[in-house]
């Protein structure tokens, strides 16, 4: 059934179709309407789930960990400060190998208070063992939520589905909502190999001495590597059922592009329009969108970017004291290429705290790059400290 819904509603429909049994969540802008929709589904009897309305995000994930340990399919959603508050348990969920699915609506971290989008909240959770999927449309959001359960339950690692605040979470788009029967064929009920069970009384999470701890962590790494293939298989299976296919990365007009803009989330959609415009002027450029960020598809990136003249990485995030996080990650992937096949790599930080990244911005960035005028690392369209001070004084 086709419907015009928000990105947040697409998350909720995905969770409903996946038949999550326990939901535990706490409100935070701009995530809140996800859990409002889920509360409504439960109240109307459209989703048979227990919704634990906890007193904090920390408790939301703790409840999910308890419920998943007992074998239930679970869901939670959050943003920014809420995800940061969960951080201890983000590590815990992966360490406990629980197939939890969490939707994070990317929101900038305070201070100053911002409810608008950037990626530093989720990228700060990069090294926790979670899988991360950055979406660019509401359809992809719904499809990725359902896929995430399948992948998570296969490799026993949690997944974070990531969508940009407002640009995706609150924008209405046409979404094909699959029939329950289609999803049921794709996603069977959860049967965990090990769970809390009074008939098989095991202990989970015990003290582990140095002689064994590393082995548990190594298994997380092996599961991440396996997941790279599982995401491809699951996407293929989903494509057979729905006709919609998603790769680990998604290319646009890459065929003869000598300049490639690499980014994640909705700026990748904006970039398509910019690329079309530049191509009309004869600039051979394209877009590569990073969709699955953990596990990291380094081989795909290297294969698709090898031999290009330059790659411009657009980061809506920053690792302060270094540079954009996708920039660093791309660098690590391209280092595997022989030097003559390795493109020049340029990083642009833009759009923090929800500042708009327009077609005009991206055209200007790519044009500058084509003219060899773009520095290796730059902050796009940012006032210098003195200019900012003067502007603040002037506005008072």
């Amino acid at each position: 059934m086709k419907a015009v819904i928000k990105g947040n509603s697409a998350v909720a429909h995905g969770v409903r179709l996946a038949k999550a049994q326990v939901i535990a969540a706490y409100p935070i802008t701009p995530q809140t309407s996800i859990i409002e929709d889920l509360a409504a589904f439960v109240a109307k009897g459209e989703l048979a789930a227990t919704f634990v309305k906890v007193e904090s995000e920390h408790s939301a994930l703790a409840a999910c960990i308890g419920a998943a340990s007992a074998g239930a399919r679970v869901f939670t959603a959050t943003s920014a400060q809420g995800l940061a508050l969960m951080h201890e348990l983000i590590h815990w969920a992966a360490g406990a190998r629980l197939p939890i699915v969490l939707a994070d609506v990317n929101r900038a971290m305070a201070p100053g208070w911002s409810i608008w989008t950037d990626q530093n909240d989720t990228l700060s959770q990069r090294d926790t063992g979670w899988m991360q999927v950055y979406c660019a449309s509401s359809q992809e959001v719904l499809d990725s939520v359902v896929q995430a359960y399948k992948v998570s339950e296969k490799v026993l690692l949690p997944t974070m589905i990531v969508l940009d605040a407002f640009f995706l979470s609150h924008t209405h788009e046409v979404v094909d909502i699959p029939d329950q029967g289609v999803v049921d064929r794709f996603l069977p009920p959860l049967e965990l190999p090990l769970k809390l069970d009074v008939e098989r009384p095991g202990a989970f999470g015990n003290l582990v001495f140095p002689d064994r701890y590393m082995e548990f962590r190594y298994k997380i790494e092996l599961a991440q590597r396996e997941a790279l293939e599982v995401w491809k298989d699951v996407a293929e299976e989903w494509s057979q059922l729905t006709g919609r296919s998603y790769g680990l990365v998604e290319g646009y007009r890459l065929e003869d592009a000598d300049t490639v803009l690499l980014t994640a989330g909705t700026p990748a959609s904006t970039a398509r329009v910019a690329v079309d415009e530049l191509r009309r002027e004869g600039v051979p450029c394209g877009v590569l969108r990073l969709r699955v960020f953990r596990p990291f598809p380094a081989p795909e990136l290297a294969r698709l970017l090898a031999g290009r003249r330059r790659v411009v990485v657009l980061d809506r995030n920053c690792s302060y004291g270094h540079h954009g996080i996708f920039h660093q990650e791309a660098k690590s992937a391209l280092y595997a290429l022989p030097e003559r096949r390795r493109p020049e790599l340029l990083g642009v930080i833009a759009g923090l705290g929800g500042r708009d990244i327009t077609v005009g911005d991206l055209v200007a960035i790519l044009r500058k790059a084509a003219r060899e005028e773009l520095p290796e690392v730059s902050w796009w369209n940012v006032l210098q400290p003195q200019e900012e001070l003067e502007a603040a004084v002037a506005s008072k």
Binding site: Q21, V22, A24, V42, A43, K44, G45, A48, A49, T50, V52, K53, V54, E55, S56, H58, S59, A62, A63, C64, I65, G66, A67, A68, S69, A70, G71, A72, V74, E88, L89, W92, L196, D197, V198, R200, P201, G202, A203, F204, G205, N206, L207, V208, F209, R212
Partner: protein, 318 residues
């Protein structure tokens, strides 16, 4: 000693026979937490899932791949015992397993301090769990640091003399009674039948149940291992730790009328109180009297009040 060790013969105890705490656990000699768990599982039996946050029991249960209990155990983050148990309960409910009890088993730090928010939230939502706080009155697992359950005047490594703890202990049962929790009680390892009865009663009640279990800790209290049960009994018989139950925050039942042995007898057996000043001792004596007056007044008020109105049956769709 005015409370004789010989007066209490363990052979006269009437307790469930079967044990679910196995040999090989890692508790210290004389540990009240090990005895408490043994009694708790005698009471609750094998259809129980135990949730253990960071606390002594996170070690006592044994390192991977060992497991000292005959029931499933989930170890969880320090501040999450209550809500983790609530999550398990939600899953069991969806699986049609409401017959399984979920027992959150946390120390005083994990209950009075870092786990308080999650506990308050779970009680407010009336999660169907049993929560036992085994209280040894300090962070003993990390090596004896003060918690908000540490009594006034006690030595710990973060309240060294002369800066022993200036504040009295937080009253957790009263705080939870004000949540209108269906059932809250205190218990002692020295009164095993009373503790077992309270757990069995807790199991029969739907909603959140909280039991505050006073336990001895020879390592942290600086006491003799062989005196653990005796000291726990003195905590009750001196009036320091009253045994009582509260239903729905109003109906109080005092379970044991203490002999009101002078508190110095209890304090003298614990090195943590060696440095008590005369003023501190005086405060402790006065507090016992005042707290008992207050408890009796609450019990009397509860008798006069009609039962609180029962909330309407939930029409919740699940």
């Amino acid at each position: 000693m005015s409370v004789e060790l010989a007066a209490y013969d363990p052979k006269n105890l009437h307790l469930p026979e079967e044990d679910w705490l196995r040999s090989g656990h890692l508790a210290c000699p004389g540990c009240g937490a090990a005895l408490g768990m043994r009694l708790a599982l005698k009471a609750l039996g094998p259809k129980t899932i135990v949730v253990i946050p960071a606390c002594c029991w996170a070690v006592i249960n044994g390192p991977y791949p060992f497991h000292a209990l005959g029931v499933p155990v989930l170890q969880v983050a320090f501040e999450t015992a209550a809500v983790s148990a609530a999550g398990i309960r939600a899953a069991l409910h969806m699986q049609g397993r409401d017959d399984v009890a979920v027992l959150a088993w946390a120390g005083d730090g994990g209950t009075f301090d870092i786990g308080f928010q999650s506990l308050s939230g779970a009680v407010e939502r009336n999660e169907d769990i049993i929560y036992v706080c085994y209280d040894n009155e300090a962070y003993m697992n990390t090596g004896i640091q003060r918690s908000s359950a540490t009594p006034l005047g006690a030595w710990t490594t973060t309240t060294p003399e002369p800066n022993t703890k200036p504040e009295p202990k937080k009253n957790m049962v009263e705080i939870l009674a004000e949540h209108r929790i269906p059932y809250a009680a205190t218990a002692s390892i020295a009164f095993p039948e009373d503790f077992v009865r309270k757990l069995q009663k807790a199991r029969s009640i739907t909603g959140t149940k909280f039991i505050h279990l006073w336990i001895s800790c020879p390592a942290g209290h600086k006491s003799e291992e062989r005196l653990s049960v005796h000291i726990a009994r003195l905590a009750v018989e001196t009036g320091v730790f009253p045994l009582y139950e509260v239903e729905h925050g109003t109906r109080y039942t005092i379970n044991h009328e203490p002999k009101f042995v002078d508190v110095s007898e209890y304090l003298a057996l614990q090195g943590r109180f060696r440095h008590l000043t005369a003023e501190q001792l005086d405060f402790i004596r006065q507090s016992i009297q005042w707290e008992w007056q207050r408890l009796r007044a609450k019990a009397a008020m509860g008798e006069q009040l009609p039962p609180p109105p029962a909330p309407p049956r939930s029409g919740m769709v699940v």
